[in-house]
């Protein structure tokens, strides 16, 4: 388990992290979300000891040190490889630095290239690959030594939906192996699809922390999805409805000011008859993200 306790970091007058705490148990995926500059990369740099910080970071019960490096897979936010090397040379060099002998890694390379659908052979120069394929090679370098702790900084950025799915499968496979995984993303869809837990940072502070359901439930079931012949104006006039979003073809989202207004609205809309859609849900992660970001500007 990765345990982060009360870590703080300042860059001059700027407080980059302020008393951040969370755990990532083995076999779980933690999503780290927040706007640019919220402190996500600083958190990763602290875990990897790239910077001095206050607080404590422990891995499997001890302070993370050089002896743990072989068990870490790290993907930095910006992609960077040694462009003069071939794919094979690059993967083997980085794997050897992770304590894996070349003879163990070499036979696996073709499988990994196939799994990530890399357009190129093991002898292709990194320099000759497209940006997307370079990114996939970098992902292979991060995963091939089967790390127990995966740290992925914006792993989906720049990937098309097909390649994003390939990455998701690889991350879930690592989770099934029992790896503790922490990744940052601006795309709430990926976070929702993958994460067991999430932490939202805002200017270095933790503003949200918990499982996806816990976080959503904190905000109450204030989103009501309905399909009805009523007009938006009629719906707006119902008690407990704050605003209405028209989804076209008689489909609406009612944003409730009070979740307990749901049953009364149900009765009013159905009047004992069949209704095609009535679903009361908490806000989506995307909406929560916007809400939390918006709080800052209030």
């Amino acid at each position: 388990m990765l345990s982060i306790q009360h870590i703080s970091k300042e860059f001059g007058p700027v407080k980059a992290l302020n008393d951040v705490s969370f755990d990532v148990p083995n076999g779980q995926i933690m999503g780290l979300i927040g706007q640019n500059g919220a402190g996500k990369s600083t958190t990763f740099h602290s875990i990897l000891n790239f910077i001095d910080y206050g607080g404590s970071i422990q891995w499997q019960g001890h302070t993370l040190s050089a002896s743990d490096f072989d068990h870490i897979g790290y993907l930095p936010e910006e992609r960077s490889l040694m462009t003069k090397l071939t794919i094979e040379q690059q993967i083997i060099y980085l794997a050897r630095l992770k304590g894996q002998p070349a003879k163990v890694i070499r036979p696996q390379i073709d499988d990994w290239l196939e799994r990530f659908a890399v357009k190129g052979t093991r002898k292709s120069k990194i320099n000759d690959l497209s940006k997307g394929n370079q990114q996939k090679v970098q992902l292979i370098c991060t995963l091939i030594h089967q790390p127990d702790l995966l740290i992925l900084d914006e792993p989906f950025s720049g990937l098309d939906p097909v390649n994003a799915d390939l990455l998701k499968q690889a991350v879930l496979a690592a989770k099934d192996r029992g790896a503790a995984i922490i990744f940052s993303s601006h795309d709430m869809e990926h976070v929702t699809a993958l994460c067991d837990q999430l932490v939202m940072l805002r200017k270095g502070d933790v503003v949200l922390h918990g499982t996806l359901d816990d976080v959503r439930d904190q905000f109450g079931k204030t989103e009501l999805f309905v399909t009805t012949d009523w007009t938006a104006e009629q719906l707006q006039a119902l008690a407990g409805v704050g605003s209405v979003t028209d989804r076209h073809n008689h489909r609406y989202v009612l944003h409730l000011t009070d979740a307990s207004a749901g049953p009364a609205i149900f009765d009013a809309l159905t009047q004992g008859h069949y209704i095609e859609e009535f679903s009361q849900q908490p806000p989506t992660l995307d909406e929560i993200f916007r809400l939390k970001v918006g709080e800052e500007h209030v």
Partner: protein, 406 residues
């Protein structure tokens, strides 16, 4: 295999396989081959326009000159008319007419330019000898009288052979050694600084520092570069030995080498003793400094500027050493022979000239070794922060803070 060695070999192989290394190693061999080739072609194709003709009514006189000085003569031209035509057509540099009809010998040179000093000396010498012979014949001197007149004064230099060679050995050893140090430092300071600076701020460094410690990586890089230097030196030693073996096939060169065996052995002795250790340690400390310098550049694009401070320091060592080669008792020389970065120039100078005792040599070596160790440790500790640019401290703030931290 340790991660340091993995970095070492990666650095080494990347450098060795580069075109720049190939050109750097082959460069001197190509230059030597080119020089020899040009000299050979030049010697064999010296056009007739550089030759002169010798013309005389006296066949004996002309034959005598040609026997004494056969080189540079066009023997086919024997008449003034032909010679004039050849000069005019630029096929001949000039012609020399020798006249022995009277009691006084006379030589006249006709050419588009003045005689070169070598030819002039040859002609004057020949005319003097021949005139003397003729004078003796005219004077009808007895052999005894001739012998008496042939007496010339004697001027001999009495130089103690051992001391003379020894001084030459010292001078040549000094020049070979400091030039060798200087060239190696200038070349590899740039390579080391660029090797490090090109990684500056790149995200591959984050991946690497999540795999191995910065100190281990830094030492691996430096060792890799040092292995490249050793490879180049080994190639030069092998190339030199091969060249020597080939050159010794030439009887002229063999004779020259055998005649100067004491000199050659003396120089080799001065190079392959403690001085070689100074060269190696000097290269190590300058390489570390160059690497540090590379790590200090603001961004990877500034890599080419990174080596400048190290080159300046190396040049300072070289140029300060030059004026002191004949004044090794100067206090400055003694001080600098203990100061790291300068001791690699100054202590070998003192060792070659026998002005440094064993105690002084060992003290200087220990200081240099300790300086290398501390310097490598200090930079190794700062290396990650410098390479990742994880904070906004400038060099001075960083130096102050790192002092506080330690």
């Amino acid at each position: 295999m340790s991660k340091t060695w993995i970095v070492t070999f990666e650095t080494y192989l990347r450098q060795i396989k580069s075109w720049s290394f190939l050109f750097m190693v082959l460069g001197p061999f190509l230059m030597i081959a080119l020089t020899i080739g040009i000299s050979y072609i030049s010697a064999n194709s010296s056009s007739s326009s550089h030759q002169v003709a010798v013309i005389s009514d006296s066949a004996v006189l002309r034959k005598s000159y040609l026997q004494q000085h056969p080189s540079g003569i066009n023997t086919k031209i024997t008449t003034t008319t032909k010679a004039k035509k050849a000069v005019k057509a630029n096929h001949l540099a000039g012609y020399l007419t020798l006249d022995a009809s009277g009691t006084q010998l006379r030589g006249d040179y006709h050419g588009s330019t003045a005689m070169d000093s070598g030819l002039k000396a040859k002609v004057q010498n020949f005319l003097m000898q021949y005139q003397q012979l003729k004078n003796y014949q005219t004077a009808k001197l007895t052999p005894k009288q001739q012998q008496a007149l042939a007496q010339t004064p004697v001027l001999k230099q009495h130089i103690a052979a051992k001391t003379g060679t020894s001084n030459l050995v010292k001078t040549l050893s000094f020049w070979v050694l400091i030039t060798m140090i200087y060239i190696i430092l200038i070349t590899y300071s740039t390579i080391a600084a660029q090797e490090i600076a090109s990684d500056k701020g790149t995200k591959i460094m984050e991946i690497i520092f999540s795999s191995t410690t910065a100190t281990s990586y830094f030492i691996g890089k430096i060792t890799g570069i040092l292995l490249v230097i050793v490879t180049q030196i080994v190639i030069y030693i092998c190339g030199g030995w091969l060249g020597y073996t080939i050159a010794m096939q030439n009887s002229g060169i063999k004779k020259l080498v055998l005649a100067n065996q004491t000199l050659v052995k003396g120089i080799f002795h001065n190079l392959f003793n403690l001085n070689l250790l100074y060269v190696l340690l000097g290269v190590i400390i300058y390489t570390i400094l160059a690497a540090y310098s590379g790590a200090l550049v603001a961004k990877a694009e500034d890599a080419s500027k990174a080596a400048q401070p190290v080159i300046m320091l190396s040049m300072a060592g070289f140029f300060i050493a030059l004026p002191f080669q004949n004044n090794l008792d100067a206090v400055l020389v003694k001080i600098l022979s203990y100061v790291p970065f300068f001791s690699s120039y100054f202590m070998p100078m003192r060792i070659i000239n026998g002005t440094a005792g064993l105690g002084e040599q060992i003290s200087s070596l220990v200081i240099l070794l300790v300086a290398i160790g501390l310097f490598a440790l200090y930079i190794g500790r700062q290396y990650q922060r410098l390479m990742l640019q994880t904070d906004s401290e400038n060099i001075w703030q960083h130096l102050i803070h790192s002092r506080r931290r330690s």
